[in-house]
C-alpha cells in the first residue's frame, strides 16, 4: 500500500488517535486538487462556465454525502465542521420554535460544543435536561422517555462518543422523539462512515457531520436538515443566503469535493473496513489482556465502533504512560493532560472512579493502521506499563493486598 508510505514516514510515531483526526485519504486529495488550481470558480457564479463547473462539483458532493446517510441531497448543507453544525442545529431550532417549546434534552457525555451550546441557551432562558448515561456509556431509554415533554423542542444525543466509541441506540431514540413531537438531532461526527446510518429508518431530523474524522479535509462539515416534515432553523451566519439561507458564505469548493469523496469511499469500504478494524482491535485488546493484569475497558465493548479502545491501566497515571510510549501517538483521559486538571468528564459520567480515570488511554485505530503497528503498540504499552508499575506505590500496595480505599488520603 503506497498510501501508507505517503501518510506515515518511518521516523514518525505510530498514529493511534483516529478519534482526534484522520489523515486525508490520498484519493480524496486527488479529487480535491483541480479545485485548488484551474477549477477555481465560485460555485455561486451563475454567469459563466467557471461557476457552473464549481457548482456541479459541489452538488455532486452534496449527493455523495446524502447517499451515505440515506438523505436527499437537498437536505444537506455545508458548514465549517461538526462544531458549527452542532451550534446551528441546536441553537437554530431552539430559537426558531422558542414561542412554542423551550426545553432541550441532551446527555452529560456529549462533546463540549453541544454542552456549551446548551449552556448558552440556558442563559437565554431555555431549560436543559442533561441525561445521565449507564455504566456502559449508553442512554437509558426509559429515562429519556420520561424526560421528553410536550415542551421539548429538540433532543440532542451523539451517535458515537468521541472518547469511548460507544454507539447510542439511535433508532429507538428517534422513535421516542417522533412519538413526543420533538426533533432529534445527533452529533454523528464519530459515526458517519464508521457505522451504517439512515436518517429515515432512525427518524433523525438533524445530523452533524465532520470532514476530518472520515479521511476528508479539515475545515468542512455538513448538517443534515430534514425537509419532510420540515425542520426550520434560525441562521447564525447572515449574508448572501447560500445553503437554503441556513448558512451564508461562498462554499469552499475543494473542501466540499473532499468531503463528498470521503463519503463515497466510506460508503463503498465501510463493511470491509469495519471487519478489518474489529480484527485489529481485538488483536490489540487480547495482546494487552494476555500480558497485563488489572486493565479495564471503559464503555461497552459490543455497542462500539470498531476503531476505538479506551482502557484504564490501573496504578499507572495516563500522562506518564504517554510520555513513555514515545513511539505511539495516543490520548488520555487523565487530568494531567488537560488544562483544567480534571479527569475526563465522560469517564466520570460512566461512574469510573477518579483514580482509574487518571490511568486511561484512548487507542484509536483507523484506515491506515497495520497489524504490525498494533503489535508494536502492544509491545511498547506492556513494557512501559510494567516499568511504571514497578515504581508505583499504588501497585506495590495492591500487591501487598492493601486496599487503597482503606487509606485516608489527603486530597490536594
Amino acid at each position: 500500500m503506497t498510501a501508507i508510505a505517503q501518510i506515515r514516514r518511518n521516523d514518525q510515531p505510530i498514529y493511534l488517535d483516529y478519534q482526534a483526526t484522520t489523515p486525508l485519504d490520498p484519493r480524496v486529495l486527488e479529487a480535491m486538487m483541480p479545485y485548488f488550481t484551474h477549477k477555481f470558480g465560485n460555485p455561486h457564479s451563475r454567469s459563466h462556465s467557471y461557476g457552473w463547473e464549481a457548482e456541479e462539483a459541489v452538488e455532486k458532493a452534496r449527493a455523495q454525502i446524502g447517499k451515505l446517510i440515506g438523505a436527499d441531497e437537498k437536505e444537506v448543507i455545508f458548514t465549517s465542521g461538526a462544531t458549527e453544525s452542532n451550534n446551528l442545529a441546536i441553537r437554530g431550532v431552539a430559537e426558531f420554535y422558542k414561542d412554542r417549546r423551550n426545553h432541550i434534552v441532551t446527555t452529560v457525555t456529549e462533546h463540549k460544543c453541544v454542552l456549551d451550546t446548551c449552556r448558552h441557551l440556558e442563559q437565554q432562558g431555555f431549560t436543559v435536561t442533561y441525561l445521565p448515561v449507564k455504566q456502559d456509556g449508553l442512554v437509558d431509554l426509559d429515562v429519556l422517555r420520561a424526560a421528553v415533554t410536550d415542551k421539548t423542542v429538540v433532543v440532542s444525543i451523539m451517535a458515537v462518543n468521541n472518547e469511548i466509541g460507544v454507539i447510542q441506540p439511535l433508532a429507538e431514540i428517534g422513535k421516542i422523539c417522533r412519538e413526543k413531537g420533538a426533533f432529534f438531532h445527533t452529533d454523528a461526527a464519530q459515526a458517519v462512515g464508521k457505522i451504517p446510518l439512515d436518517v429515515e429508518a432512525m427518524n433523525i431530523d438533524l445530523m452533524s457531520i465532520s470532514g476530518h474524522k472520515i479521511y476528508g479535509p479539515k475545515g468542512i462539515g455538513a448538517l443534515y436538515v430534514r425537509r419532510k416534515p420540515r425542520v426550520r432553523l434560525v441562521a447564525m451566519i447572515h449574508g448572501g443566503g447560500q445553503e437554503r439561507g441556513f448558512r451564508s458564505g461562498t462554499l469552499p469548493t475543494p473542501l466540499c469535493v473532499g468531503l463528498g469523496e470521503a463519503c463515497e469511499i466510506a460508503l463503498k469500504e465501510m463493511d470491509g473496513e469495519a471487519k478489518r478494524l474489529t480484527k485489529l482491535r481485538d488483536r490489540m485488546l487480547k495482546g494487552l489482556q494476555a500480558r497485563l493484569p488489572e486493565i479495564y475497558i471503559n464503555g461497552d465493548l459490543e455497542h462500539r465502533i470498531p476503531g476505538n479502545l479506551n482502557i484504564s491501566f490501573a496504578h499507572v497515571e495516563g500522562e506518564s504512560l504517554m510520555m513513555g510510549i514515545k513511539g505511539l501517538s495516543v490520548s488520555s483521559g487523565s487530568a494531567c493532560t488537560s488544562a483544567s486538571l480534571e479527569p475526563s468528564y465522560v469517564l466520570r459520567a460512566l461512574g469510573v472512579e477518579e483514580e482509574l480515570a487518571h490511568t486511561s488511554l484512548r487507542l484509536g485505530l483507523g484506515r491506515f493502521t497495520t497489524e504490525q503497528e498494533v503489535d508494536t503498540a502492544v509491545e511498547e504499552l506492556v513494557h512501559q506499563v510494567n516499568k511504571l508499575r514497578a515504581m508505583s506505590p499504588l501497585w506495590e500496595m495492591a500487591q501487598e493486598g492493601i486496599d487503597i480505599k482503606s487509606i485516608e488520603w489527603a486530597a490536594h
Binding site: H315, S320, M323, E355, M391, S392, P393, I407, A410
Partner: protein, 136 residues
C-alpha cells in the same frame, strides 16, 4: 507538553526507585498525595548513626513531572542532615526541572513528601527515646 531535558532524564532514568523497610527504626516514610487527584508519592529516608541521610528511595504514581520531582529529591537529600533536608523548597525543585506552571503542584508534593518522611523518622526517634527513658 514540552519538558526540559533534566526532567525527561529523571523520568526516563529515575534515581533511587524502590522501598526501604518501613518498620525499621532508622527509616522515615512519607506517603503524600491521593489516587483520586492523580498523584501519590512515597518517599523514604534512612538516617545513619552520624545523623546523615545515607539512603533515600521513592515510588511515585503520577505524571512525568511528579516522577521527576520525586527522583530529584531523593538525590538531593542523600548526605544531608534531616535539618538540612527539611529546608528543600518546592521552588528549588520547580526551578531545577523547569516545571511548567500547571505542574508546580508536583514540586509541592515532593516537598511535602520529604517533610512527611522526616516527621515520621522524628516520631520514631522520639518514641524510641521515651521507651528507653521508661526502661531506665
Amino acid at each position: 507538553m514540552a519538558y526540559s531535558e533534566k526532567l525527561i532524564d529523571h523520568y526516563e532514568n529515575p534515581r533511587n526507585i524502590g522501598s526501604l523497610d518501613k518498620s525499621a527504626e532508622d527509616v522515615g516514610t512519607g506517603l503524600v498525595g491521593a489516587p483520586a487527584c492523580g498523584d501519590v508519592m512515597k518517599l523514604q529516608i534512612k538516617v545513619g548513626a552520624d545523623g546523615l541521610i545515607e539512603d533515600a528511595k521513592f515510588k511515585t504514581f503520577g505524571c512525568g513531572s511528579a516522577i521527576a520531582s520525586s527522583s530529584l529529591v531523593t538525590e538531593w537529600v542523600k548526605g544531608k542532615t534531616i535539618d538540612e533536608a527539611e529546608t528543600i523548597k518546592n521552588t528549588d525543585i520547580a526551578r531545577h526541572l523547569a516545571l511548567p506552571p500547571v505542574k508546580i503542584h508536583c514540586s509541592v508534593l515532593a516537598e511535602d513528601a520529604i517533610k512527611a518522611a522526616i516527621a515520621d523518622y522524628r516520631a520514631k526517634a522520639t518514641k524510641k527515646d521515651e521507651t528507653r527513658e521508661a526502661a531506665e
